[in-house]
């Protein structure tokens, strides 16, 4: 990150990624990634890295993980032909249905996988952070399933705007701790979880919820979610009879997106688009479009794109969706953007709400506000590329968003007037 890396061949970098050579020994995807943490956490992260190395590809662990995904999470999730949207957009649209996974979003893949890893590593307790509450609920559920106590850090602001998820976590046996510091949302919750971990790096397993943070988390979380893309690619071939022309996912920290994208990175004819939160405008503080509008920096353990002022102070974000409301992004996305393999763009709040309504009306699927961002990007793409086959990662369900949604009445209702 120091001196600008000299111009490198993007294709070679992509090939290195696909060959499993990235992240490299220093936890880097090209310039991005690394491990920027207090000294206290270095041994803990080294232990975690060793655990990842020892267990992740070990047949016994893989079998256990796959069993939980199949038997408990409900994988494979469906691939839905979106007939209404296809008609409306003049395209052939398919949805990868992570909203059908246990607890209602892709987050559970990672939560159960890491909970199994925590158990192997002999952890006595698990901590996690959460923004919208989805990762908190997923962690609470996974820890109950595996039999580990779980504490979830959540910003005080998020606690009050995502009350149902707080109740779900508690009911699932997790302790929810309100974070009153910083911006009292996701970033502050991660900071607080890191503080907890620093205080007990041996007994505690930090179950990070997105493909962010210090190495090996971005890699680990991607591996936990790669089932999304692996399944979707096979399902496209089987159900649609071909690969999509373009793939779309929303990007907060970037876990659902990286899980979906990875399977298609090596397909040169597949265009890949990540959609971030465009919030209420393009100015600093008005959105959470880290890749589209941010600059490189170090946040929460990783060198990546972040939203910061000229002094390096990380900025608060703005988005109708709590789960994308984050000033950083996974370093692998920063890498994929830097080598031009994935394009990242932003979707504004108003378009997002409209897209959510369109998905409801056309498909009978109440998608999450986060997810609706992907549909905005896809819809625009369809306008410019008629008749193409498209795959959208439907990362979660919108039940958790009702309190926000009721403030924005739908205009698309198709009533059964008497």
């Amino acid at each position: 990150m120091q001196a600008k890396p000299k111009e490198q061949d993007d294709a070679a970098l992509l090939a290195a990624l696909l060959a499993g050579e990235l992240p490299d020994a220093r936890g880097r995807f090209g310039a991005f990634g690394g491990r920027y943490v207090p000294e206290t956490l270095v041994p803990a992260l080294e232990r975690l890295e060793a655990g990842v190395r020892d267990y992740l590809r070990e047949p016994g662990f893989q079998e256990e993980f796959c069993h939980e995904l199949f038997e408990w999470v409900g994988r494979p999730t469906a691939l839905t032909p979106a007939r209404g949207l296809s008609r409306a957009w003049g395209a052939d649209v398919w949805l990868k249905r992570e909203d059908l996974a246990h607890t209602g979003a892709h987050k559970i893949n990672n939560a159960i996988g890491q909970a199994l890893l925590a158990k192997r590593l002999g952890a006595k307790r698990v901590i996690a952070e959460t923004g919208a509450g989805q990762h908190g609920v997923a962690s609470a559920a996974a820890c109950a399933r595996i039999g580990l106590p779980c504490r979830v850090y959540m910003g005080a602001v998020d606690i009050s705007r995502q009350a149902p998820n707080v109740d779900r976590m508690r009911r699932l046996g997790a302790e929810v701790v309100a974070v009153e510091s910083g911006d009292k949302t996701l970033r502050a919750a991660i900071d607080e979880a890191l503080r907890d971990w620093v205080s007990d790096p041996d007994g505690t397993y930090y179950l990070l919820g997105s493909a962010v943070g210090p190495h090996p988390y971005p890699y680990l979380v991607r591996e936990m979610h790669r089932c999304i893309g692996d399944e979707a690619r096979a399902q496209m071939l089987k159900q649609a009879g071909k690969l999509p022309d373009a793939v779309f996912a929303c990007v907060g920290g970037g876990s659902n997106a990286i899980g979906l994208f990875h399977a298609f990175l090596g397909d040169p004819d597949v265009e890949i688009v990540g959609v971030e939160a465009g919030g209420i405008g393009s100015g600093l503080g008005q959105n959470a479009a880290t890749l589209a509008t941010g600059t490189p920096g170090v946040l929460q353990g990783s060198y990546t794109m972040i939203l910061q002022d000229p002094n390096g102070q990380v900025q608060e974000t703005q988005s109708v969706s709590a789960g994308l409301d984050y000033s950083g992004v996974g370093p692998e996305h920063a890498f994929l953007q830097s080598i031009g393999r994935v394009r990242y763009e932003a979707a504004g709040d108003a378009d997002v709400l409209d897209a959510l309504d369109e998905v409801c009306a056309e498909e009978g699927i109440l998608t999450a506000l986060e997810t609706a961002h992907a549909f905005v990007g896809a819809r625009e793409w369809a306008r410019k590329n008629p008749g193409k086959t498209m795959l959208i990662g439907n990362s979660g369900r919108g039940d958790k968003d009702m309190s926000t949604l009721v403030q924005h009445p739908t205009t698309r209702a198709r009533h059964a007037g008497a």
Binding site: Q2, P38, P43, P296, N311, V314
Partner: protein
């Protein structure tokens, strides 16, 4: 003499006089206007002063330092302002200064410019809590070009071989974190703390300062033989927060 050697020397002097004292204060806290005034007051009883650069995401800090950090940012305190203000008052301050900063403000400033500006401001070293040794080469080299040191932190959990590396690569002093935890934690100093510090002191050729959780004269006395000095952070920031005089507090730490 390189800038970082000024730190070492000051600490050795302090150690010889019964134990060095390194107070930590957040820059521009409680008020930017009184930054230099506070610094003078703190420096009166200090061998080295550690000045905190406020950051939006102080992940290794407890509530007290977080609060001071957020308050300072709110009031416009930035690394640039700190260096400019220190440079303006360069003549009045002869205590060696160490800046404690998370990495991102340093990155944003730009390493190339930073070394020269820091030196001009009287900064002799940096403590960067989220920059482990493995990630630090570029920063160390950029500072080293100006004689400014990067202080390495070690903890009770640091394995022996790593401890050796860190002690060897540290400049100015070795920062021995007393507890596994964040600054300002309520925990007592652990029973094994003196053994641990003695071990670090043995490995390190630089003075070792113990930090985290040191709040009272009793703490200072307990660690006196085992380390060259102590770093007092949250306890001092609390004093500043209350608007009390830091001199009285620091003097009491020194005098039995």
């Amino acid at each position: 003499m390189q800038a970082h050697e000024r730190i070492t020397e000051a600490l050795q002097r302090g150690a010889a006089e019964g134990g060095a004292l390194v107070p930590f204060m957040t820059a521009g806290y409680p008020e930017p206007d009184t930054f230099i005034e506070t610094l003078h007051a703190v420096a009166e009883h200090a061998d080295v002063v550690e000045i905190g650069v406020p950051f939006s995401d102080p992940m290794a800090d407890g509530m007290t330092i977080q609060r001071s950090s957020f308050a300072a940012i709110e009031k416009g305190v930035s690394l640039r302002w700190i260096l400019e203000t220190l440079t303006e008052h360069r003549e009045d301050i002869d205590t060696p200064l160490v800046l404690m900063s998370y990495l991102n403000p340093l990155l944003a400033y730009g390493y190339d410019e930073l070394g020269a500006a820091a030196l001009k401001a009287g900064v002799c070293g940096f403590i960067v809590p989220d920059l482990p040794f493995e990630e630090s080469a570029a920063f160390r080299e950029a500072m080293q070009a100006h004689g400014i040191g990067l202080v390495q932190l070690v903890t009770p959990a640091t394995p022996a071989d790593r401890l050796e590396t860190l002690c060897r690569e540290s400049r100015g002093f070795v920062y021995a974190v007393t507890i596994t935890g964040i600054t300002g934690g309520g925990a007592e100093l652990p029973a094994e703390v003196t053994d641990y510090l003695e071990n670090v002191s043995e490995v390190s050729s630089l003075p070792v300062c113990a930090g985290f959780g040191i709040r009272s004269r009793a703490d200072v006395e307990r660690l006196a033989g085992a380390a060259a000095g102590v770093i007092v952070g949250s306890a001092l920031v609390e004093v500043l927060e209350r608007g009390d005089d830091p001199r009285a507090f620091l003097a009491a730490l020194r005098t039995p």
